[in-house]
């Protein structure tokens, strides 16, 4: 057992913290335009952090990526880092056609283009039978038709990972990598509480080359499962980072804000709030790091650890944010104060990659109840 960071992990943590505190944070979260930031992220080599060297990455593995995403969460990093490095790249490396990998991975790994995922539909559920979009065979590939909801960076991305039905059994789902420039794609913007650019993408007989299917026909569902699990583990660690940051700014505030002639942090009621926050954050940190590690190691316990981490993070970190608001009083209720930016992200991440109901059921299954 070693609950500390090794040398590489510590190096990633320190450089991520140093860079993100300087370049990201509330100011970036408020500004609509993140292009300049994204170029710097690309220079850091982060999109390719966990990508193999042969496709232009640094091959540092998922645990190091988890360390990075924890800091990304703490500083509200913007841009499709999560989408590509956590979700799309491991899947493509494992299962895509070599031609496709050569064509798109290096450009995604160096940040010159980006990827999004389009899996969920109107039901917002992660069950195979809820994939209604279809892909039908054509002379030289596939044609995809259907509507995908909650696509983060759906307009910015150049490659979209799409799940579509290719057969009649519930699990007859296949995965495709669709060029965003392909025919028949229309998008509608929705306003997401986190401020993340989010679209509803509609595909109307969108043509997809035959080599753009990932894995075999009708065998895409396990990939979606794996992707959801990674998403949940990494959202949990991202929430842990966010929670730690919110705890830090609140602890600093209650030391400084005075009422009744003393810092409000000297009132036990306030101290107990901070103590509760600290316990929550530390628990979520450990659960989330364990979850990321077990995903990285393909541990047989991964399903359990991920659902535990996601459930704890989704419940406790929004609560940490609400308590932080309470400790700030009216100033924390304003738009100009940064606190609500964290709260908005926490509420959003809490319901992504399986909400509480979904992970409660999954955990109960994994526990053989």
């Amino acid at each position: 057992m070693d609950l500390g960071f090794n040398e590489t992990e510590e190096m990633v943590r320190a450089s991520a913290q140093e860079f993100l505190e300087r370049e990201a944070g509330p100011e970036l979260a408020r500004s609509g335009d993140a292009d300049a930031f994204w170029s710097k992220v690309a220079e850091m080599g982060w999109p390719g952090l966990a990508v193999s060297e042969r496709y232009g990455g640094a091959d540092m593995g998922l645990v190091a990526l988890g360390v990075l995403i924890e800091q990304w969460g703490a500083n509200l990093g913007r841009g499709p880092l999560f989408e590509f490095s956590v979700l799309v790249s491991p899947l493509l490396e494992a299962a895509a056609d070599e031609r496709l990998k050569k064509e798109i991975l290096p450009r995604l790994a160096d940040g010159s283009s980006s990827a999004a995922i389009a899996i969920l539909e109107q039901s917002a559920s992660w069950r195979p039978e809820d994939i209604r979009a279809t892909a039908v065979k054509t002379d030289n590939g596939w044609a995809i038709t259907g509507t995908k909801h909650f696509v983060s960076y759906g307009d910015e991305a150049s490659q979209i990972l799409v799940a579509a039905r290719t057969g009649d059994r519930p699990s007859d789902v296949s995965i495709f990598v669709v060029n965003r420039e392909a025919n028949g794609i229309s998008s509608e913007t929705v306003n997401h509480a986190s401020g993340t650019p989010t679209t509803v993408l509609t595909f109307n007989e969108t043509t997809v080359d035959v080599f753009r299917i990932v894995g075999s026909e009708n065998e895409g569902w396990p990939f979606v499962e794996a992707l959801m699990q990674k998403g949940a583990a990494f959202r949990a660690i991202q929430l842990a980072g966010l929670g730690r940051h919110v705890l830090d700014i609140t602890a600093a505030y209650v030391k400084e804000r005075k009422q009744f002639g003393v810092p409000i942090g000297s009132f036990q009621a306030v101290q107990h709030h901070l103590a509760d926050m600290a316990v929550s954050v530390r628990r979520v940190e450990q659960l989330a790091r364990q979850a990321v590690w077990s995903v990285a190691e393909s541990s047989p316990d991964a399903a359990k650890q991920v659902s535990r981490a996601k459930l704890a993070a989704s419940e406790l970190i929004p609560q940490v944010c609400w308590t932080a608001h309470q400790c700030h009083g009216a100033i924390g209720f304003t738009q100009e104060h940064d606190l609500h930016l964290y709260t908005r992200h926490a509420l959003s991440w809490a319901v992504e990659f399986g909400d509480t109901a979904a992970h409660t059921d999954r955990l109960a299954d994994a526990l053989e109840l």
């Binding site: 306003n191 309470q326 009216a330 709260t343």
Partner: protein, 392 residues
């Protein structure tokens, strides 16, 4: 013991409901955004209509244009208004400064202001909090110095709700800096158009302009605008707080959200093809929330009932505010959980469920536990006043 309202009270409730159905726009779901022009216009129209029915100040004595309505009748009014998210219920005028003037005001002040308040023709705001005087209100620093027949005010108030809509402010100022902090405070009435008064908007985290910073730069106010005795402002000013601390508004908002959520659960199909309301875990949680709301409602009723008996138990008022804000928050939190990924689509978004209202309300009602005495301060009061526990 009798846990029901009288037939007359119930009749009033149904008359009020009919009135609201007629007066509110078709399909009204609220809450009103008073920072918008239309929202404010609706507020003003509703207020005038309530005044015309005699309901705006029905809790006032007849001599001031009221109906001497009982506290219980009055709580029905507040409950229905909040449940329907109906604008127009003017708490600063009719519930705070109006009653204060009846008790502490001079005859001139009464005849100058009360008829306008009763007619819904004037907007007040409450200038108490300052940047460094929040929970510790008595440390307020805004100075008023007597100069002939005037007071000259310098300083700043903050978080002043509706200051940007207000004609008048009732404010607490420091008039004796040398006295112990509770003894050097006075209440003044200030015309918001007086030179030197400046209102700067503050946007809240739900995205609307509900409160403000108000600065005072050599603002001259006639000496006759002093309410009560000089340096007795703490007592005068605190007399409005018991109204502020009844939790019925929060209970009714929570009930409304619960009802909307219950309907949503009946209408939406869950993964197993059955309505969400058939899901045992959802049924349990909704039932738990119902208990929380009903308990909080009874505490609010208890505050009103005690007032009717001529008592004003401060600790029960604190319990009521605390329970009401918590119940409302619990319902909204669960709503966001049930709405899942749809819960975090902002109102106005295509595809948002329940018009994105739950997210906006959850953000907005974060303030419930802060304003009018924070939750922590209420707990202190319950422990000190209700249970007589020792103070450190």
């Amino acid at each position: 013991m009798r846990f029901e309202f009288t037939t007359e009270d119930e009749q009033f409730r149904s008359e009020l409901r009919t009135f609201l159905a007629e007066q509110l726009p078709d399909g009204w779901t609220g809450p009103v955004d008073e920072s918008s022009k239309d929202g404010w216009a609706l507020n003003q129209r509703m207020r005038k209509a309530l005044a015309a029915r005699g309901w705006l100040v029905m809790h006032w004595p007849e001599q001031y244009g009221g109906q001497d309505a009982s506290s219980l009748r009055n709580i029905i009014f507040a409950e229905e208004m909040a449940y329907h998210r109906a604008p127009g219920n003017d708490r600063f005028g009719t519930r705070m400064i109006g009653p204060v003037l009846m008790f502490y005001g001079t005859d001139e002040q009464k005849s100058k202001y009360l008829p306008d308040i009763a007619a819904g023709g004037i907007q007040w705001c409450q200038g108490y909090s300052e940047p460094d005087a929040g929970s510790d209100l008595a440390s307020l620093k805004t100075r008023a110095v007597r100069d002939g027949d005037k007071f000259i005010i310098n300083g700043a108030k903050i978080w002043t709700s509706l200051a940007h809509r207000a004609d008048m402010m009732f404010m607490l100022v420091r008039t004796d800096p040398d006295a112990p902090k509770h003894r050097g405070i006075s209440m003044l009435l200030v015309d918001m158009k007086t030179p030197g008064v400046e209102v700067r908007p503050i946007y809240n985290m739900a995205g609307s302009h509900s409160f403000n910073q108000v600065t005072f730069d050599d603002v001259a106010v006639p000496a006759e605008n002093l309410v009560g005795d000089l340096n007795n402002g703490w007592r005068v000013g605190m007399s409005v707080l018991n109204y502020e601390r009844s939790g019925i508004d929060y209970v009714a908002w929570g009930q409304r959200a619960w009802d909307e959520l219950a309907q949503f659960c009946r209408d939406e199909t869950g993964p197993n093809g059955l309505p969400l309301s058939a899901d045992p875990s959802i049924r349990r949680k909704m039932a738990e929330l119902d208990v929380e709301i009903e308990g909080a409602r009874l505490l609010a009723y208890e505050v009103a009932w005690s007032q009717q008996q001529g008592e004003a138990p401060a600790d029960v008022a604190s319990m009521s505010k605390l329970s009401g804000t918590l119940a409302n928050k619990s319902v909204l939190d669960y709503g966001l959980q049930l709405l899942g990924m749809y819960g975090v689509l902002e109102s106005g978004s295509p595809h948002a469920k329940l018009q994105g209202r739950f997210f906006k309300m959850r953000m907005f009602y974060t303030s419930g536990e802060i304003l009018a005495g924070t939750t922590e301060i209420q707990k202190n009061l319950i422990a000190w006043r209700g249970l007589e526990l020792p103070r450190v």
